[in-house]
């Protein structure tokens, strides 16, 4: 049975460990992005990583976006119909997706699909001494491995969020207009009248930029700092998905509060 003092000690040790890890993650980020890049070598790596992290995530984003739009339309129609406001289905879906569901669900899917993949890839490179061999060749792995992956994730997530939102709206259109039979003109014109570019769309994209930054940072750091064993990589991959998901949901609340507060 732990005494009260021991409990306080272990709490303090956990706190110190957490601060150490955050500091270490900060140093990894500094080493990766605050150095003058060699564009000739970095640009092809960045394009390659945008393909791996962003382009290859498109199928899951498109499918998930379409289904979420369709479900939103079904649920929304059933509720709006009770208030004789079914024509407001377009604004309901567009606002939900642009403000919240687009950035958040894309971020969560991105963490599960691309973040875990980044962590596993970098972790396996570490376990098989590929990072050490780079060091021995006088090549900085933070520049050649971590930086292109970080920037690829940072650039990709906002673009994926836009794709997700578009397909959600198409999905809602398919259900609301083609299936249920709502008027297409009302669907689009009400949406256009209700959605404000600055307040709804730009704020949603700002959220996705913030999520992209933190999700990719967590993913590359967990891979870079993992224990280089199969169990260590497994734990790091799990931590990437869990931490990224919690950070996305927590930051979403903070950002929404700031944006609604007139920020």
């Amino acid at each position: 049975m732990l005494s009260m003092v021991q409990r306080i000690q272990s709490l303090g040790a956990a706190g110190i460990h957490f601060v150490e890890r955050v500091g270490e993650a900060g140093l990894v980020l500094l080493g990766a992005i605050f150095k003058k890049p060699n564009l000739h070598k970095s640009f092809p790596l960045l394009i390659q990583q945008i393909y791996m992290v962003g382009f290859l995530s498109l199928p899951i984003i498109i499918v998930a976006g379409s289904f979420i739009g369709m479900v939103l339309a079904l649920q929304g129609y059933n509720i709006l119909e009770k208030f004789a406001a079914a024509d407001e289905l377009g604004p309901l879906v567009a606002l939900s997706v642009a403000r919240e569901l687009g950035p958040v669900v894309t971020g969560l899917l991105f963490a599960g699909r691309a973040g875990s993949s980044l962590t596993a890839e970098i972790g396996l490179m570490k376990a098989t001494d590929q990072l050490s061999s780079m060091e021995l060749m006088a090549v900085d792995p933070l520049q050649r491995v971590v930086a292109p992956r970080f920037w690829a994730g940072f650039y990709s997530l906002p673009l994926l969020t836009i794709v997700f939102s578009m397909f959600s709206i198409f999905g809602a259109y398919a259900v609301g207009v083609d299936w249920i039979g709502l008027d297409a003109g009302s669907f689009w014109s009400n949406m256009q009248a209700s959605v404000d570019f600055r307040i709804d769309i730009v704020n949603g994209i700002i959220k996705s930029i913030v999520f992209g930054f933190f999700t990719t940072w967590i993913a590359v750091y967990q891979g870079y700092a993992c224990v280089p064993t199969s169990e260590g990589i497994s734990h790091a991959t799990t931590r990437t998905v869990v931490f990224s998901s919690l950070v996305i949901l927590g930051l979403d609340f903070v950002l929404t509060a700031m944006m609604m507060g007139g920020w």
Binding site: K41, T128, D129, Q130, S132, S133, E135, L136, M137, A138, V139, D140, R144
Partner: protein, 267 residues
Amino acid sequence: MSSQACVQIKHLTFSRGSRKIFDDLSLDVPRGSIVGIMGPSGTGKTTLLRLISGQLSPDQGSIFLDDDEINTLSRSRLYQVRKKMGMLFQSNALFTNLSVFDNIAYPLRERADLSEAFIRDIVLMKLQAVGLRGARHLMPSDLSGGMARRVALARAIAMDPELIMYDEPFTGQDPISVGMIVKLMRLLNKSANMTSIIVSHDIEITFNLVDYVFVLADGKIIGQGKPDELRNSANAQVRQFLNGLPDGPVPFHYPAKDYATDLMGEN
């Protein structure tokens, strides 16, 4: 430091957690020589290579490569000094997303200001040396263990380093691969005057190859000398290691409480 020494280690102390890996270790690796680092598993042989290459920092003491004290160098200077080093990793450490050709070209593209045509010629020369010029288009996953080791060796010598470190180069290799690797090591040492440090458990092969051997145990050097001198060593620990005796000064059993007590203990 002595102008004859390529690598000089002075009073090195290094710990991992509470476990002391090296305790006041000093050794010199003469320039142009082939030196073997041997000893039981867990004595820190690979750690020593990582300390020499600056991937780890000692708790105390100093490590010199030529006139550069590795553990005090800035990162940029360390990267300059590393151009003089090559290392063959136990795991080969080939980049799995690059072909054999691109793996060997990687350090040249990154660290040498050479035209692509010149890089191609160098890569083909290195591949010819390891007998794999015809395998240049293969991916690492297509290679056998022996071929991967030879590709890793070709990459380690791509920049013509002054010092090359081999971490268990013979492990898991068939006799033909071992013969080829040994031949290449000798050739590199003689023709390019490379200094070589070999970490290996294979006593016969290593003793036939090296000029000098250090035997490590318990964080210290327990024996050193030319292979023939070591074969006649009076040190019981060295004799146990060289003769492969399962029990002796280095116990077969990991420290544990009494066997009978353990068996009768909690069920």
